[in-house]
Amino acid sequence: MVLVLALGDLHIPHRAADLPPKFKSMLVPGKIQHIICTGNLCIKEVQDYLKTLCPDLHITRGEYDEETRYPETKTLTIGQFKLGLCHGHQVIPWGDLDSLAMLQRQLDVDILVTGHTHQFTAYKHEGGVVINPGSATGAYSSITYDVNPSFVLMDIDGLRVVVYVYELIDGEVKVDKIDFKKTTTTTHSAH
């Protein structure tokens, strides 16, 4: 069981002062093995904070990030899964599944994690899974109205990944989960 925290688009301090207190109290150091961050932290202080939660931290560049040297895309292998990470402002039309699927093919990954729209989504298609963890602070977005703060926790176990999404709705943390199984063939699978 490997826990991967996926989050992004915090936009601290431009659009938000901090993570919601309820999220902060849930994110405890030592429980998570990897963190993948879609970008737009935006300042180093946020990177330092994430590092305290877990030393294996991967970040891709968002257009507002203070640190301009984060990579545009990143791939990493965790267990049986290949993960791809990209902020997503580079993939146009923004939030379009087919265009994201193209990126997924290009990076050749099972799970693609992108952000930018501040809207949580999890799609499964023949090429794999596309996840958007939304904005961890509920930051303003020109694309999405009424953004609820959200982040994703993936539990990778063998050929199976359970995606937990945590959303702060009206002051309460709601959790949902989605199961994905990886198959070695590309025939359409029951989802």
Binding site: P13, H14, W94, D96, M102, R105, Q106, D108, S142, H188
Partner: protein
């Protein structure tokens, strides 16, 4: 009395103790054989050891205790008339025959103790007699111990005076009178000890005196324990007499100790009821007395007392405790002209702490204290003393910590004035403290007035103060400004009109912040304003406010101005992003011209200020991404903007960047909405153009590096072909796709790249995708049928 050395002292003490033991031995023998005469003789000799002048108070005490223990035996003997056959009256006469005064008086006191208990004489007379006779010993140390002995042996009898003597008020008064007189005399002796010579002698004497202080203080303890001494007696007799002694002795050590003693010994309710008298003594004390500590301790006790019950609180108001304390502090500061700044401010800190604890709801009191401090600070040059500065900071922190809610502190009108008296550095530190308090408590500042006051308090952070030459470390400056940026999100009101006012105030202060600050503060302001715009969107018509109705248009005007200021810093990349956000927001409000104007500003910045190729590529992505979503533009406007965007794309420096930007432009001509634009031809034009660029890139790479170029570009373009093919763009045929696939295969074979390389992998997954689509069947399957892999 100068001592020559610790060794000598030890020797003398040993000699003294030996002397006592020697005589005590014989005294015991006499007691055992009921020989009164002998007992008296040897006890007198024993007590003579106490006549020494050679010992320091510490050592003398040891000697005294030895004698004291022995005298207990003697007292028991005296008590038992059957043993010696002499009446206590006669005994009293008898002991006066002792040769030297000191032994005589010790013996007298011992007999006196027995005499009092026997009730054979009026207590009053006896006590008066004893306390006056002790006057015979004027040597400070010897006198103090003698009188201490008197106090000690009479103590039990005095404290029980109510019950023993049938509640006779006179008797209680007698007891009080006795103690007060003993106290007076002891205080005089004690004060007299102080050596007025400067230097070590003085310090040494001071130390010796502090060793003796509890002997004097004990008298007050006794007064506190006499049962029948009630509030009235305390008020009419005890306190005035004690204070008289304290003030008149004009001795700073004594005054400090005794004031503190009074405060600790007597109950708080007494203090409350005699506040005026007690405080009245304070300005009369010597200037060197640490009056601030005395007053602080008093206020501390009273605070705790106030917390004990709500009835008590009522009393505080009744006696006007706050006013009296406040006035006393003013008087003390006035009278003690040489009091340093730190002293005065510490007094205010204590008073404020008291006020916050006892009258937390009386913000006017708290403000009054701050006002008094401001007045004091105004009459002084700017604070340079770090201790004084620390106290001012403590003064400012107290309301923050008490109320845990900056909003309450903001209503204290004198608060910003106190801050004004801090030096620039400390002012900023305090401003950060305020911001931290807000962030930590998640406080929301929700009215324009309060925001204005808040910005007044933190002005050191948001603009350059007069005469401030800021040699601030870059990291520290960043931290400061990021804090201010975060703070802006805490300024919020649900009510759009009030929120509009808040935005205006923040805008005003942000504009005045200067170029160094704009890159930090402007984004926060912009997004806070756009949030408001979105709320206004949902409302019908304009909100008519008193002065300025809050409309999206007006807000966009403000934003346009401030983003322009930002771009001039120079900070063009950030400004470009903010312009685009405003354009998108204007689009959402259906304001075509405003949106167009923002796009214009964006393009101007792009053309004139964005030179770095990586920055250009990102900017292009943002421009295309935003423009692609715009539905508000009329045909002409849209054409102009898309033409510009495609133009920029084609002119990027690096060929791969060019290629990618150009094929991304294809999306400008195809929107997946019902009413969306679907210009199949122009899409194809873009893709073909991208292909040409990719070809050119290939050739250039061949020539320059002898290897092939980015085949991956072709695969990307292929994917785009597939995208639009699926969406139903008639201009893209299966044949075209087929051709493209073959082209790629050819390029791949000619390439020295190894299998498993990125383009290879990408192509493979693309072909897998095509296969998948073919197998879908239905319309999609039909489309893909003719593509052979």
């Amino acid at each position: 009395m100068m001592l020559n050395g610790a060794e000598d002292e030890e020797k003398w003490l040993a000699e003294g103790i030996a002397g006592i033991q020697h005589n005590a031995f014989y005294m015991h023998r006499a007691l055992d054989s009921n020989n009164l005469r002998e007992a008296l003789k040897y006890s007198a000799q024993m007590l003579s050891e106490l006549r020494t002048s050679k010992l320091s108070p510490h050592k003398y005490y040891e000697l005294y205790m030895r004698a004291f223990d022995e005298l207990r035996m003697l007292e028991m003997f005296f008590k038992d008339e059957s043993k010696h056959g002499v009446s206590v009256v006669d005994l009293y006469e008898l002991v006066q025959h002792a040769g030297n005064i000191l032994p005589r008086l010790y013996l007298l006191c011992t007999v006196g103790s027995v005499y009092i208990k026997s009730k054979e004489a009026p207590v009053k007379e006896l006590l008066k007699d004893l306390v006056e006779m002790c006057r015979g010993v004027q040597h400070p140390i010897r006198g103090l111990f003698l009188r201490s002995y008197l106090a000690q042996i009479s103590r039990d009898k005095l404290t029980n005076i109510g019950s023993d003597h049938e509640g006779d008020v006179d008797t209680v008064m007698d007891a009080v009178e006795f103690v007060l007189q003993n106290f007076s005399e002891m205080n005089k002796l004690w004060v007299r000890m102080q050596n007025q010579e400067p230097g070590r002698a003085r310090e040494k004497r001071k130390k010796e005196r502090s060793e003796l202080q509890d002997l004097v203080g004990k008298n007050l303890h006794v007064l506190g324990q006499i049962e029948r001494v009630d509030l009235d007696m305390y008020k009419e007799t005890v306190l005035p007499r004690v204070l008289e002694q304290v003030v008149n002795c004009k001795d700073d050590l004594g005054q400090y100790y005794l004031m503190d003693c009074i405060i600790q010994v007597f109950p708080d309710e007494y203090h409350l009821q005699t506040l005026e008298a007690l405080l009245g003594a304070c300005p009369q004390l010597q200037p060197t007395v640490d009056i601030k500590t005395v007053l602080s301790r008093l206020m501390d006790r009273l605070s705790k007392y106030a917390a004990s019950s709500t009835d008590v609180l009522h009393e505080f108001l009744q006696v006007e405790a706050f006013t009296k304390l406040s006035n006393t502090i003013e008087k003390v500061i006035e009278v003690q002209v040489d009091m340093p700044a730190v002293g005065a401010i510490t007094l205010y800190v204590s008073l404020l702490t008291f006020t916050l604890r006892v009258h937390p709801d009386r913000l006017d009191y708290a403000d009054q204290v701050l006002g008094a401090c401001v007045k004091k600070l105004s009459n002084m040059p700017k604070l340079e003393d770090s201790l004084a500065t620390k106290q001012v900071v403590a003064l400012l922190r107290a309301p923050l910590e008490k109320y845990n809610d900056i909003v309450t502190a903001l209503t204290l009108s004198n608060y910003p004035r106190v801050m004004d008296h801090l030096d620039n550095g400390t002012n900023k530190v305090m401003a950060m403290v305020i911001i931290e308090s807000i962030m930590k408590n998640n406080t929301c500042i929700s009215t324009a007035d309060k925001v204005e006051v808040l910005f007044e308090l933190i002005k050191g952070l948001i603009k350059d103060l007069d005469g401030a030459v800021d040699e601030l470390d870059e990291e520290d400056f960043k931290d400061e400004q990021n804090s201010v940026a975060k703070l802006i999100h805490m300024l919020y009101n649900d009510e759009p009109e009030e929120m509009g006012k808040i935005i205006c105030i923040v805008w005003k202060h942000t504009m005045a912040g200067g170029p160094k600050r704009l890159p930090f503060t402007v984004p926060s302001l912009v997004f806070s304003a756009l949030r408001l715009v979105r709320r206004l969107q949902g409302q019908e018509g304009d909100i008519v406010g008193e002065v300025v109705p809050a409309t999206p248009k007006k807000i966009f005007q403000l934003l346009s101005q401030i983003i322009e200021a930002l771009s001039a810093v120079p900070s063009p990349e950030l400004a470009l992003r903010l312009y685009l956000h405003c354009a998108e927001a204007a689009h959402d409000c259906d304001l075509e011209h405003v949106a167009y104007e923002f796009f214009t500003q964006t393009f101007v910045l792009y053309e004139e200020e964005i030179a770095n190729s990586k920055a250009q590529l990102t900017a292009i992505h943002l421009i295309i991404g935003a423009l692609q979503r715009m539905t508000v533009f009329g045909v002409e406007n849209r054409d102009t903007l898309t033409h510009k965007a495609t133009g920029y794309s084609a002119r990027l420096l690096k060929k791969p960047d060019q290629c990618r930007a150009v094929y991304t432009c294809s999306h400008l001509f195809w929107v997946d909405d019902e009413d969306g634009i679907r210009d199949g031809e122009r899409v194809l034009l873009c893709l073909k153009r991208a292909l040409r660029i990719a070809n050119a890139a290939q050739q250039m790479a061949n020539v320059a590096r002898g290897s092939s170029g980015p085949i991956t570009l072709f695969v990307e373009i292929l994917n785009k072909y597939l995208y639009f093919f699926e969406k139903g763009n008639q201009q893209i045929t299966a044949a075209a796709i087929q051709d493209l696939i073959e082209l790629i295969n050819t390029e791949m074979q000619g390439d020295s790249a190894n299998p498993g390389s990125d383009p290879d992998v990408f192509l493979a997954s693309t072909l897998r995708y095509i296969q998948f689509q073919k197998q879908k069947g239905g319309i999609m399957g039909g489309k893909f049928e003719s593509i052979e892999l």
